[in-house]
């Protein structure tokens, strides 16, 4: 869940927000671009409008001049006053001229020198009660001899007027007026010529417009007081994108407020009359939906890829790590299955699971009460020779539960095997040497052998040494857990596991479980199968790191964790070779509880007078060993019929004489500084084969590496290490170091 929260937060911050910002910025830049282009266009359109109106003015003034010239010099007003037939003829002539000169839907007036409109194109006779326009500016100007244009405004009627004086003897005497109504057709005509929308208003009231009524009022109002282009209005047709009706986003679908770029200007000659020219700038936003579709498409693609990446990461890394962590947690709590199926995790973690399973296989079943052991299928751990251990079937089967009943969770994995408490003790033993030191040993000329190791016949083969856990991976320079570094597991997973183990170690160290080797070594330990000293855990603690706790060289860390975490199963006391589980009172108590002598849960403090050094594990009865022996024919383990009640393996006080005797025996057989035995020889042969294989894999020559020379060098190093670390023998690991085959030695301290 945390992963998904983080992943979604990552998607939000890295995909959603950038795309949202891109969408926002792109949309607003488009709007700004449309507004800017509209402003530029409307400025140009205004010049066109002025030019067009000027042309119209010239045209109508020209017509007026033509009419004036046709009537000038004829003493027409005197003829009117004369009466009789000549007056009637003059009237008829003037009327015909006015009619012919009157613009369509317009008018033509004949004005006498006093400023009275004596004749109009729409009236057949002289006007009986003429209207005076003596003070009208256009007429006043005509009486100065000028022909000009202007606007005639009579109420709500507007007309573009051309006026010219009637000349009698070179002097102005009266005038003619031609007027073109400025109405909707006129506005439409002008708008079409300038390719823009026009709105004509008088004192803020729209008189005519090419825009819809609701828009024209808004545009007229917005442009009335503006000296620069303004955007206003809304489009008649929405900007809706056909394929996705939701688009465009972040803008009104009718581009409300951005639809038109308008510029207002007062009409020449009458400031109450104003023109507002508008360019439909909102139309340039019609591609906004397509742009946003691309952005949203990219967003959806990136989002889906991110989700897919998250799913893959979750499946490949998060879930396996969680599964491994849960598995380890179950192991620690003594529940669930002992082994984790490799197929339950993704490939990068299968090696890790294999290593964990092999490590767990080394644990005696007693240490995992209530857990079923599911043997992993035979697998190859490169260079570690684990195949033999896995295929030996020792780890296979179902371990008995605490009540003695087998938990046959995976019957196909083989028969259950019951292990004794001695296995626990031996598994928790010290294996001793520093991997850092051992890693520095690089027997380059050596060669190894692959294949199953040949274990001594007197040893049960199933438990691969924990040194394999350390050696199969590449231990780091510090000798700390290098278990996963050479595997395919991710650094994150390795780090996680390493931190987990380190924390366990830290807890163990904090609880003071570490003791000196001298204090631990030599304690009487029952070792019924003679394998308890192989060392179960550890192997990743370098001597340099554990100088403060010399007795814990390379071992006992997990046991320490058991002690600090009140692990519910029992543990032996003194462990040969540096095991320290018995030093922990909690752990001892846990051992007692596991043995049926347990104190109630939560009994963490040792009881009074408790001496952990005196706690030993009693030997296992030979008949029980015989019952649990592996049948070579059936390759299975017999299931002994266990009595009801606590486990027969108990932790009890050992008499002092027995302890002393055991100590002597331990001292005598503690070290084996002789040459390699048969088991070592077989191991060396395996290492040689494995080393050759690794060199071939690394592209190195193998012809110069003979077995005899390899064996000699390996034997020498083995002896040196046995002498140096006072261990029983040494196991070598073949691994790849910087592209070359290398060897790593792990002392085997416990017997």
């Amino acid at each position: 869940m945390t992963f998904w929260i983080r992943h979604l937060a990552l998607i939000l911050s890295c995909i959603c927000l950038p795309f949202a910002a891109a969408l926002y910025v792109d949309t607003h830049s488009e709007i700004e671009r449309a507004t800017a282009s509209g402003s530029t266009a409307v400025k140009l359109a205004q010049k066109s409008l002025t030019t067009r109106l000027t042309l119209e003015s010239h045209r109508i003034v020209g017509d007026a001049i033509g009419l004036s010239q046709s009537m000038s010099g004829k003493q027409i007003f005197r003829e009117f006053l004369r009466g009789g037939s000549r007056a009637a003829a003059a009237v008829d002539g003037a009327r015909e001229r006015l009619k012919s000169a009157a613009p369509e839907r317009g008018f033509a007036w004949l004005v006498d020198g006093a400023g009275r409109i004596v004749m109009s194109s729409d009236q057949p006779e002289l006007i009986a009660d003429p209207r005076s326009i003596a003070h009208y500016p256009l007429f006043v100007e005509t009486q100065t001899g000028m022909a000009l244009d202007g606007i005639w405004r009579d109420g709500d009627r507007l007309a573009l007027v051309g006026a010219a004086p009637l000349a009698e003897e070179g002097m102005a005497d009266g005038a003619v007026f031609l007027g073109v109504p400025i109405d909707k057709p006129f506005v439409d005509q002008i708008a079409a010529s300038v390719n823009a929308d026009l709105t004509l208003s008088v004192n803020g009231k729209v008189l005519a417009s090419t825009l819809p009524e609701s828009v024209s009022e808004i545009v007229s109002l917005a442009a009335s007081d503006a000296t620069e282009p303004v955007t206003a209005g809304r489009l008649a047709q929405p900007l809706t994108y056909q394929r996705i009706s939701l688009l465009p986003l972040l803008v009104d679908h009718f581009a409300n407020g951005h639809a038109y770029a308008s510029l207002g200007s007062p009409a020449v000659g009458d400031r109450a009359v104003s023109w507002a020219i508008s360019i439909r700038s909102g139309d340039s936003l019609r591609n906004l939906g397509q742009r946003q579709e691309l952005i949203l498409g990219g967003f959806v693609l990136a989002f889906m890829l991110a989700i897919l990446g998250g799913l893959m990461n979750h499946r490949s890394f998060v879930r396996p790590i969680a599964r491994v962590a849960d598995h380890l947690s179950d192991l620690q709590l003594g529940r669930g299955e002992v082994e984790l199926a490799e197929t339950s995790v993704s490939k990068p973690f299968r090696r890790l699971v294999r290593l964990i399973n092999m490590t767990v296989q080394k644990l005696p079943s007693r240490s995992l009460p209530g857990m079923s052991v599911v043997s992993a299928p035979p697998s190859s751990l490169s260079g570690s020779g684990i195949e033999a251990a896995s295929s030996s079937g020792v780890a296979a089967g179902t371990l008995p539960a605490r009540d003695g009943r087998p938990q046959d969770r995976d019957r196909d994995r083989g028969p259950p095997r019951k292990e004794t408490l001695a296995d626990v003790l031996s598994a928790s033993g010290d294996i001793g040497a520093s991997d850092e030191e051992l890693d520095s040993f690089d027997p380059r000329p050596f060669s190894g052998a692959s294949g199953a190791p040949v274990l001594p016949p007197d040893r049960p083969p199933p438990r691969p040494s924990v040194d394999l856990l350390a050696g199969s991976g590449d231990l780091g320079a510090g000798g700390r857990v290098g278990l996963f570094s050479s595997s395919n597991a991710t650094d994150a997973s390795a780090s996680a596991i390493a931190q987990a183990i380190a924390s366990l170690e830290a807890k163990a160290g904090a609880s003071g479980v570490r003791r000196s080797a001298s204090a631990i070594r030599g304690r009487p330990v029952a070792d019924p199968d003679g394998d308890a000293s192989d060392g179960g855990f550890g192997g990743y603690d370098s001597p340099s790191d554990s100088q403060d706790v010399p007795g814990r060289r390379g071992g006992g860390s997990l046991a320490s964790d058991y002690a600090s975490s009140s692990y519910p199963f029992s543990s032996p006391g003194p462990m040969r070779g540096g095991g320290s589980l018995a030093d922990v009172p909690d752990f001892a108590a846990a051992l007692e509880r596991a043995a049926g002598l347990a104190q109630p849960a939560g009994h963490a403090q040792p009881r009074e007078g408790y001496a952990p050094e005196e706690t030993v594990v009693s030997p296992v009865a030979s008949d029980l060993l015989a019952q649990t022996a592996r049948d070579d024919i059936t390759d299975s383990h017999a299931i002994p019929s266990l009595p009801e009640g606590p486990d027969s393996t108990v932790v009890s006080s050992v008499p002092a004489d027995l302890l002393a005797k055991s100590a002597e025996l331990t001292d005598d057989s503690d070290m084996n500084e002789d040459g390699p035995d048969d088991g070592d020889q077989a191991h060396f042969r395996d290492v040689y084969e494995e080393f050759l294989e690794m060199r071939r894999r690394c592209g190195e020559l193998t012809s110069d590496l003979g077995y005899e020379r390899f064996l000699a060098k390996l034997t020498k190093n083995r002896n040196d290490l046995v002498q140096k670390y006072n261990c029983r023998t040494v196991r070598f690991q073949v691994y790849e170091k910087e592209g070359k085959a290398a060897l790593k030695a792990t002392p085997i301290r416990a017997r």
Partner: protein
């Protein structure tokens, strides 16, 4: 019988002489008006302008209209005006374009056009006057320095006029021949010659029992009226010979 008639006549004449001791005095004179400056020439009417002929004979004869106001500094009670000053809406213009009145006096506005007009004084609608009708504007005291009040007509924005509201005094106008005569009482006065939106000149007048002739006052072109759209006109100048 004759003695009674004589006595009665003497009495009547005496009473009449005591009731109006200052009547009969007036300020008179003549004004040489400047030629009318066409408002059209100061504005752009259209996109094109072409001369076709010489000006009409009547074009140069037009004179600026001037109103008068005799402002009392120290005087006996002033006579009531015979008739209020008037402004006529005629020929799409105001005739005259300026009128004066004392505080609490009146100015009559009459519409002679064929369309109703909406009169707006100092920006506020005063009245909508139908053709042939009149409306009286009461000259109330205004803010200090606000003696001139603009008159506009909504329907014809080119029409501009002015009403000068003086304090205590006598309003009058100049006849077309330039003669004027203002009835007044004894006292000291200032005679204002009022143009469009501005006082063209003033003259101090002391009136006794007899009329005072201020002579001929020559007025030059008036300066721009306050708020007028025109520019470029020369400042007012006046000379009293």
């Amino acid at each position: 019988m004759y003695r009674r008639v004589i006595c009665a006549s003497v009495l009547i004449v005496g009473v009449a002489g005591m009731g109006a001791p200052s009547l009969g005095a007036a300020v008179k004179g003549s004004v040489e008006l400047p030629s009318a400056v066409s408002g059209v020439g100061r504005r752009t009417l259209g996109h094109t302008r072409t001369r076709l002929s010489g000006p009409a004979a009547s074009a140069g004869a037009a004179k600026e209209r001037v109103a008068l106001f005799l402002s009392a500094k120290n005087s006996l009670p002033l006579p009531e005006p015979e008739a209020p000053e008037s402004l006529q809406v005629i020929g799409l213009g105001l005739e005259p374009s300026v009128a004066s009145c004392p505080v609490d006096g009146k100015v009559t506005l009459t519409n002679h056009d064929q369309r109703p007009v909406t009169i707006r004084i100092e920006g506020r609608v005063f009245a909508v006057i139908k053709p042939g009708e009149s409306a009286s504007y009461e000259c109330t005291a205004g803010p200090a320095g606000g003696a001139y009040r603009s008159v506009k007509i909504d329907e014809w924005p080119h029409i501009r006029g002015w009403i000068y509201v003086g304090e205590v005094g006598v309003a009058g106008s100049v006849q077309e021949d330039g003669q004027f005569r203002l009835p007044a009482s004894e006292g000291t006065f200032s005679l204002y010659f009022l143009g469009d939106g501005s006082v063209l000149t003033t003259k101090d007048v002391t009136i006794g029992r007899a009329d005072v002739d201020v002579g001929k006052v020559v007025l030059l072109s008036p300066g721009p009226a306050p708020g007028a759209e025109t520019t470029g006109a020369k400042p007012k100048e006046a000379s009293v010979p």
